[in-house]
Assembly symmetry: C2
Homo-oligomer: 312 residues x 2
């Protein structure tokens, strides 16, 4: 983009999460995305004056404590960009994709889940975001994990019968037509233990598509309550501002988003926005970092020009 917030080029590539994918893979993805962005903008990479990198894990201590990020320099250099860069939290970028205000709250529920309190444009408090094994309550992983455990309990006779069972077996490619419940269970277990645990998040949509099913309803309600609780942990009477919702669960599952919104309003909050990603927010953070005030006009320009690029 230029310094008025007009977005000129856009690029997307693979995972940018160094914890999940490793730094080499992130460097490659970053290089590919930046190359696409400069090419589609018709800009010489050498003319780029600065970059903001909104990255998963950037609010966690181990990463923040490391002053150098050679893999980011490597990724930018691979695309011919040797400009200075600033690293920002992906959660903050998500918030800034939804609002140009300096105070407010962000709640993300994709594969993982986390909430932030933003004040004066900075993250002042984080809740959860502790990963599939330790937290991420109400996230896509959490929902998918509860779904598959409910299916196992059903097949095992420990839990109630649920419409989730045939849907999950079919989604995992297990044809149960000629199987006993016990052998379906054994094949399900084999399949799941061969997966990376976080990929259980792929089963989350089943909870929303199964229709009227008591087990699924309880899981979805549990996720909504957990997310409302995670958000509640960062709410502060002294910080008044909008709530920005991000991540596939909040973006695509109206039930969960509505439950969280109701809880936010009940606690005196107002102004809820849903965003698809943190790209606009990364633009906001880059401008701010290089001294451009992002007023509503600049923010509107980012949004409109980015929307136009997305349509190409």
């Amino acid at each position: 983009m230029d310094s008025t917030g007009r977005c000129l080029g856009l690029g997307t590539a693979g995972s940018g999460n160094p914890v999940a994918s490793g730094v080499e893979s992130v460097a490659l993805a970053l290089g590919a995305a930046v190359r696409q962005a400069t090419t589609s903008a018709g800009l010489m990479p050498a003319s780029i004056g600065g970059a903001a990198v909104a990255m998963a894990g950037a609010s966690s201590v181990p990463l923040a404590a490391s002053p150098e990020h050679p893999f980011i320099s490597a990724g930018l250099s691979a695309a011919g960009v040797d400009a200075p860069f600033v690293i920002e939290s992906d959660l903050l970028a998500m918030f800034c994709s939804g609002s140009s205000e300096l105070d407010g709250y962000g709640l993300v529920a994709g594969t993982g889940s986390a909430a932030i309190r933003v004040r004066d444009g900075e993250v002042k408090a984080v809740s959860d975001g502790t990963g599939w094994l330790l937290g991420d309550e109400g996230s896509g992983f959490w929902i998918g994990h509860h779904v598959v455990r409910a299916v196992v309990a059903d097949l095992d006779g420990r839990g109630p019968s649920t419409g989730l069972t045939p849907l999950v077996l079919s989604r995992l490619g297990i044809d149960d037509t000629h199987e006993t419940r016990r052998s379906s269970l054994a094949r399900l277990a084999e399949t799941v233990y061969d997966m990376r645990p976080v990929h259980l998040a792929r089963l989350a949509p089943v909870a929303f598509t199964v229709g009227d099913d008591a087990v699924a309803v309880a899981i979805v309600e549990g996720a909504s309550q957990a997310l409302a609780h995670t958000l509640g942990t960062v709410l502060d009477d002294g910080v008044d501002g909008p709530l920005v919702l991000g991540g596939s669960v909040l973006l695509h599952q109206a039930t969960v988003a509505a439950a969280v919104e109701t809880s936010f309003r009940r606690q005196g909050g107002s102004g809820v926005v849903r965003v698809a990603d943190g790209v606009a927010g990364a633009a906001v953070l880059a401008l701010r970092h290089w001294g451009v005030a992002v007023d509503p006009a600049v923010f509107a320009r980012i949004e409109a020009s980015l929307a136009a690029l997305r349509k190409l």
Copy 2:
């Protein structure tokens, strides 16, 4: 042992779980244990007429469906034993360690958890035993996982303060004296994500040693209820017999064992025995397989001679 049930030699070695440790490692452990047993008995390995192998996973379909177990032959051969062998469920061996009756129930809660119904000396129903990611409700893993999630929620501000937190940090070697809660949380997360998930079972004892702590009490009650439920799933009016309890949680945690026992009695059951392992049961199963009826006198002989060997 001889054919009257008198145990003559005993050997122990590493893990015998082919799913957790791999078949090569199991073959080595099996060979080492058998060699110890024949040596301490003063027997020529070639004089052994038969073997019963009580093995984790032997009741699961993939293993039972495989007619050949070359890694077991390899393990026995390495100890000079070329006798025929029979593979039995470790859960059934646990039951047979506690009772010579042909009908009854077994409940195990170690790292994992499972219940069985035994009729005519065979496993007729299994509940749970589906592993850390899919089930094992109330097991050591389940307790340890709930413990560490409660500690993360405490450090994160999402959950109540709990006495589990300092105990878990100290057990994982995290000195939190000079740390903020946020940095303790980051170090805890780093440590746990470097562990194999099942090793979270090592944190289970903390729930029992913390003393009067509402969070720990709720976890222990949850485990007791889950185990009673798993057992309840296999109870059958037509099968009357004792309940044999095994695994470190039921062996060492009187609270949990008492809760399960109360639930068993409330449903009309009687006769509860706790056993340390499945060794006596493997002896019972070997005798039965080679046509020796295990009456109370034979069973008492196995128990007494095995106890004497354990004291050596």
